[in-house]
């Protein structure tokens, strides 16, 4: 009888392991569409709303609410603070920094002075601004406009047409304020990117676009005398132009 029992035990163990598999992912991959089992979910799933989560409380089932006109969402800086915050562009990458958006109607937020597009950045551009602009440009813009702004980003290889080159004369002559507005609200087939790019970053991108435009129409005379030898040396060696640097 004991023998039968042990036999049964071994059989059950093998059965369980063969059905459930081994847990070590790298050894035996098991992917499942079944949601994880939560044995005592009482405190694990609390009746509170988390970010971007559904909620039964509202009729439309969304936990996230659209903000009411004229209000500032929690965690966003108040409208008055936007210009001040813009000056701190260099520190924006640090943790705990607030998300800088605002609905204020001044130049820093709209790109307009009165009813006309303004020119110039609403804060002093530093090398850090351009570095930040390059980073944001490569994240948000380069997908379509290309790393150098030639309008040949990866999306154009997959059928996106009508992407503007940033080096055409029309865009070189465009005011900073209008470029800012294009980033925020889009233009023609380009939709607005304002919801994903914070106010100081938009201006940093404008600054970087200006740097790109300069770089593409630069002559050897724009390079400091001391650097020229290195540049011409590289060109002769690789046969390509040096990547644009702000």
């Amino acid at each position: 009888m004991v023998r039968y029992f042990l036999f049964l035990l071994v059989l059950i163990t093998i059965l369980v392991v063969s059905i459930a598999g081994l847990r070590d992912y790298s050894f035996l991959p098991h992917k499942t569409k079944r949601p994880p089992i939560e044995i005592f979910p009482d405190m694990v799933r609390q009746p509170k709303v988390k970010a971007q989560a559904p909620s039964d409380f509202y009729a439309d089932g969304r936990g996230a609410r659209s903000h009411v006109d004229g209000t500032v969402p929690v965690g966003y800086s108040a409208p008055e603070a936007s210009v001040q915050a813009s000056e701190g562009v260099a520190t924006m990458g640090s943790p705990y920094s607030v998300v800088v958006f605002s609905g204020k109607q001044d130049y820093a937020d709209t790109g307009k002075i009165g009813t006309n597009w303004g020119n110039g950045l609403p804060f002093t551009a530093t090398l850090a601004t351009l570095e930040r602009g390059r980073e944001r440009y490569q994240i948000q813009c380069a997908v379509c406009h290309g790393a150098t702004g030639a309008g040949n980003g990866i999306a154009t290889k997959y059928g996106l047409v009508g992407v503007a080159s940033l080096h055409q004369q029309r865009l070189r002559d465009m005011t900073d304020g209008e470029i800012y507005n294009t980033i925020v609200n889009g233009k023609n087939t380009m939709l607005g990117y304002g919801a994903g790019i914070q106010v100081p970053d938009r201006w940093a991108i404008v600054a970087y676009i200006r740097a790109l435009q300069l770089s593409q129409n630069a002559t050897i005379n724009d390079v400091p005398v001391t650097e020229r030898a290195a540049l011409t040396g590289t060109n002769a060696a690789s046969g390509t132009t040096a990547p644009p640097k702000p």
Binding site: P95, Q140, G196
Partner: protein, 219 residues
């Protein structure tokens, strides 16, 4: 009275004990082995309303994580993109405007209702994780989410158990990366020694001092 229990009853306690061990042992082992996030959570790969491929968008097209997850550096919650982010490229007259695979995106764009993405990585509600502090202090997306750039369909690659969190909180030098490589899913340290050396340097430079007390994450 002396013959009340038969002689074999002398062995009964021992037999009960052995039986208990033989039956209870495998059950305990089974629970120990299987009732852990390592087994219950890792590999969770639900069907999504849109078959969005990270492998295509990140690996093949070279898009940055932050094109869509735009606030991961400044917010505790790493946001899902708005439907408009998809429509930027997949709108009418753009890329694959009529693909049936993008039907849910178009519906969402027309109705204003969110796309019902299925959440994969779910911490317990009593654990508070902040994406911003981690990615701003050298913890890569890769460390917690695995090689998402290789995933056609995203699955949970790590257990996200408390022990797993503490492994890094107790020895962050084994995981910290150069700040420029946080969002680079292809960066890997040359060797474990190189990682520790780099990690130790960053840990000291940035004064990384991850909490290991309860209140660090449960508050």
């Amino acid at each position: 009275m002396s013959n009340f229990f038969p002689k074999w009853a002398n062995w009964l306690p021992l037999q009960l004990l052995v039986c208990g061990l033989v039956i209870g042992g495998p059950i305990t082992l089974g629970i120990w082995y299987y009732f852990t996030p390592k087994y219950t959570r890792v590999g969770y790969q639900p069907d999504q309303p849109v078959p969005f491929s990270h492998a295509l968008h990140v690996k093949q097209l070279g898009m940055d994580c932050r094109y869509c997850h735009s606030f991961v550096e400044v917010a505790g919650h790493s946001n899902l993109p708005a439907t408009q982010t998809c429509i930027n490229c997949h709108g009418q007259g753009k890329i694959l405007p009529n693909s049936p695979r993008l039907a849910a995106v178009r519906d969402s764009w027309e109705t204003g209702q969110p796309i019902p993405w299925v959440q994969i990585h779910r911490l317990p509600d009593y654990a508070y994780f902040n994406h911003a502090v981690h990615v701003n202090r050298g913890v890569s997306c890769y460390s917690c989410h695995g090689a998402v750039n290789e995933m056609s369909v995203v699955y949970e690659a790590e257990s996200l158990s408390m022990k797993w969190c503490l492994d890094c909180h107790r020895a962050p030098e084994n995981f910290l990366r150069p700040p420029s490589e946080i969002f680079n899913m292809n960066w890997h340290p040359a060797s474990p020694e190189a990682q520790r050396e780099l990690g130790t340097k960053f840990k000291e430079e940035w004064k990384v001092n991850p909490p290991v007390s309860c209140g660090g994450c449960h508050h």
